[in-house]
């Protein structure tokens, strides 16, 4: 592992986080704040892309930079859980359950779809 790769992880991780923030803002601005569509769109799209990268069978460094750093920082588990807990706290139990189940189902399906596409490339 060389320093350049890790410098790349740092820069790409920062960029992925900013892209997540901007994408979430754009989606949330279009769909309102009743349901956390922003995080859902970010996470599912990220799962598709990471699935695609998995299908490509990248080398070790490429997988670290493109997968772990870029797509890993773009998607988020913590915000998904926070938004679910806040929905439940506001007695929106249905919305909270939908947020958990939809993210998980679409996430796994998206990753499978991405891997299928990646394997064809």
């Amino acid at each position: 592992m060389n320093v350049l790769i890790w410098a790349g992880v740092v820069m790409i991780g920062g960029t992925g986080s900013v892209v997540r923030f901007l994408a979430d803002g754009v989606v949330a601005a279009g769909t309102g704040r009743d349901f956390p569509f922003g995080t859902l769109v970010v996470n599912v799209s990220g799962a598709v892309i990471l699935g695609l990268l998995t299908g490509l069978a990248l080398g070790r460094d490429e997988a670290l930079l493109a997968g772990t750093a870029a797509v890993g920082s773009y998607t988020t588990f913590s915000t998904w859980m926070l938004e679910t807990q806040r929905l439940a706290e506001e007695r929106q139990h249905r919305q909270a359950a939908v947020n958990v189940i939809a993210s998980l189902a679409l996430g796994v399906a998206g990753a499978a779809l991405g891997r299928l596409i990646g394997a064809q490339l």
Binding site: R20, F21, G25, G67, T75, F77, T79, A111
Partner: protein, 167 residues
């Protein structure tokens, strides 16, 4: 962020270069303010810095403890649960306990916790478990991540709220 103009007093780096731009950005007509999401360069920089650090920690852990495909992914599980706890702590404390600050939430919440945790890796790990016909492992990993992650947010939130603020 819907807050109109939070306190800018404590942001040393932005004061010099951006002041001229900021006065224009912060005071557009009421219509423009509603239509365009305000992009605050210092906020973006804070998210970048936090996200870079969070990602570095997560990537280092993943590289240090590589896991076979159909086994419990401890590195991902650990960073996700820790990030959930920290996010619950930061967000509750910053929203309900501390005076309004512009850059702590983007730095620590959106940046650090967002970069430290990951959803996509978890989904691909579940997909690989399903591919290896490790159904119980896949279901257990998904359920445990969600249950413990949720509990971590809940615990952090109630810890912050239990501390009374003097008024």
């Amino acid at each position: 962020m819907p807050e109109p103009s939070p306190d800018r007093g404590g942001s040393p780096s932005s004061a010099v270069a951006v002041t001229g731009v900021r006065t224009r950005v912060l005071r557009p007509g009421p219509r423009a303010q509603r239509m365009l999401p305000r992009v605050d360069r210092s906020e973006i920089a804070a998210i970048f810095a936090g996200g870079a650090l969070g990602t570095l920690l997560r990537a280092a852990l993943a590289e240090a403890f590589p896991r076979p495909a159909a086994s419990w992914p401890w590195p991902t599980f650990a960073v996700n649960v820790v990030a959930a706890f920290l996010l619950g702590y930061f967000v509750t404390r910053l929203q309900e306990r501390l005076p309004l600050s512009s850059y702590r939430r983007p730095l620590l919440g959106t940046g650090l916790c967002g970069g430290l945790s990951t959803f996509s890796t978890m989904q691909v790990e579940i997909l690989k478990m399903l591919g290896a016909h490790a159904w119980g492992l896949a279901a257990g990993y998904a359920a445990a991540s969600i249950a413990v992650g949720y509990a971590a947010i809940h615990l952090a939130t109630s810890m912050v709220r239990r501390v009374r603020v003097p008024r």
